[in-house]
């Protein structure tokens, strides 16, 4: 019988999503770490991402929230974004993986999403600056978490109930990151009504 064919088909789409978001997120974290070095050398340095009164990464990086665990946050990104790249490559190579592997990876993505959402709320409402590289990291983590979680549900990792929900949601999985983006964009426009005109 040929019924095994669809289940062993490699999930190319999700693998590419993991690879692209992982690579872009890694690049953004890397740039933030380089900027951090530049600030150590010269605290007065004007960074390439300091472009307007509101768009400025120096002040975000120097904030307490930028060093939540006592070291610069982008170091976490530098380590963390390697994971989706590795898993994406493994998927292309035909990995099946134990259940715990998918649950653990999904838990990691969830923590990343929580952290990014916290950073978003801090920068917009408390620090009051927008940092382009940081926003690139947010914008990669958000689809990474939502789309992968729904795919993981549809795959059956979280049991049959979640699988039914996941399969129903899978064609619309893009709507979740889109809604998440809109929440961020609308908050930014409310907090910084003049941001577009001062770029």
């Amino acid at each position: 019988m040929s019924t095994t064919a669809p289940t062993t088909r490699r999930p190319v789409a999700i693998a590419i999503l993991l690879l692209v978001t992982g690579a872009v997120g890694l690049y953004a974290s890397f740039r933030l770490v380089l900027d951090e070095f530049q600030k150590y050398e010269n605290p007065q340095a004007v960074l390439s991402c300091d472009v307007s009164p509101f768009v400025n990464c120096s002040n975000v990086m120097a904030s307490a929230q930028g060093h939540l665990f006592g070291f610069p946050n982008p170091l976490l990104g530098l380590m963390g974004f390697v994971a989706p790249i590795a898993v994406g490559v493994a998927l292309l190579a035909g990995i099946r993986g134990a259940k715990w592997f998918w649950i653990a990876f999904n838990a990691g993505l969830f923590l990343a999403w929580v952290f990014v959402t916290w950073l978003f709320s801090q920068t917009v409402w408390f620090i009051g600056y927008l940092c382009p590289w940081c926003m690139l990291v947010w914008s990669m983590t958000i689809p990474l978490f939502w789309v992968f979680t729904i795919w993981n549900m549809a795959r059956g990792t979280f049991g049959p109930g979640a699988q039914r929900i996941g399969k129903t949601l899978l064609p619309f999985c893009w709507a979740f990151p889109l809604a998440n983006y809109l929440v961020i964009a609308v908050s930014i426009l409310i907090v910084f009504p003049t941001v577009l005109s001062t770029l």
């Binding site: 009164p53 408390f126 620090i127 619309f172 709507a175 809109l182 964009a185 426009l189 409310i190």
Partner: protein, 289 residues
């Protein structure tokens, strides 16, 4: 027999074709359903985003602007050796500011300032007593535009907005005390990255500086003119500055004398009263002490 076989084959082929047709039809229906639902999702997300933005925008601008600040700034001029504010109406709700009509025979000094900004403070401490003398003697007018560019520097307490709104309260209820309160706000300027005085503390600073009108304190604590501050800031950041060739405001402070922007250079430049006096004289200000 062969006839029978071929009949069967034909029937099977027809059945397969029909099944393929049905499957295709089913896939098409599913695709259409997915597209329809996707459209509904995108549409409703867009509607929600727009509605939230419209509501947020309609909440912000609250009521008319302060009296005596029809140009978004308060104008002070000399009269019989005293400094008096030019009395005007406030900008009506949803209205636009009216540019000040300037008399070119004197030095018209316009200052756009943020009470959080250290350089504005340097300019104030270095030049204000000299400017006051000029205004008193009638050789200059002073127009002060407080705004809120540095709200982000007060850890979420929005000191720039609060202090500018407080200054607007003084312009509205006790305009004669405006310059003294202006000076007092600079004397009590918080460092960048601190929350700054509370509204109640701002009210008591204003009172101690001479704004004794009983409405000033409640106006400051209620932040009556916070909406106006946001509007006025939006205007200077996006629209050409009146009585000048500047397309928009580019920094704090922005000081304009008879249409020309004063750009201090050098380390002590913003406090340098002689340099500023020379600039004023250059630009048609008949400054005589």
């Amino acid at each position: 027999m062969s006839d029978n076989e071929s009949k069967k084959a034909r029937r099977n082929a027809a059945r397969e074709r029909a099944a393929a047709q049905r499957a295709k039809e089913k896939a098409r229906k599913r695709r259409n359903k997915t597209l329809t639902i996707s459209g509904i999702i995108v549409g409703s997300l867009a509607v929600v985003a727009v509605v939230v933005l419209v509501i947020a925008n309609s909440i912000q601008p609250a009521g008319p602007g302060p009296k005596n600040m029809a140009s978004d700034g308060i104008v002070l001029q000399g009269q019989n050796g005293k400094i008096v504010p030019v009395e005007t109406k406030g900008i009506p709700e949803g209205g636009k500011p009216t540019a000040t009509k300037q008399d070119d025979s004197v030095a018209n000094i316009t200052v756009y300032e943020d009470y959080m900004c250290p350089i504005c403070n340097q300019f104030e401490t270095g030049n204000m007593s000299q400017i006051k003398q000029w205004v008193q003697s009638g050789s200059a007018t002073l127009e002060v535009h407080p705004f809120n560019l540095l709200d982000r520097s007060s850890l979420g307490s929005k000191y720039s907005t609060r202090s500018a709104a407080a200054a607007a309260c003084v312009a509205n209820y006790d305009p004669d005390a405006f310059l003294d309160v202006n000076t007092a706000f600079y004397e009590n300027q918080p460092s960048e990255g601190t929350r700054g005085p509370t509204n109640a503390e701002l009210a008591s600073i204003a009172k101690d500086a001479g704004a004794t009108n009983k409405n000033v304190a409640s106006c400051i604590t209620d932040q009556k003119f916070a909406g106006w501050v946001a509007d006025a800031t939006n205007r200077v950041l996006t629209e050409p500055l009146a009585n000048s060739s500047l397309d928009k405001l580019t920094g704090t402070p922005t000081v304009i004398v008879n249409g020309k922007q004063y750009n201090a250079t050098g380390t002590n430049a913003w406090t340098d009263a002689d340099a500023f006096a020379a600039f004023v004289e250059q630009n048609g200000g008949a400054v005589k002490n």
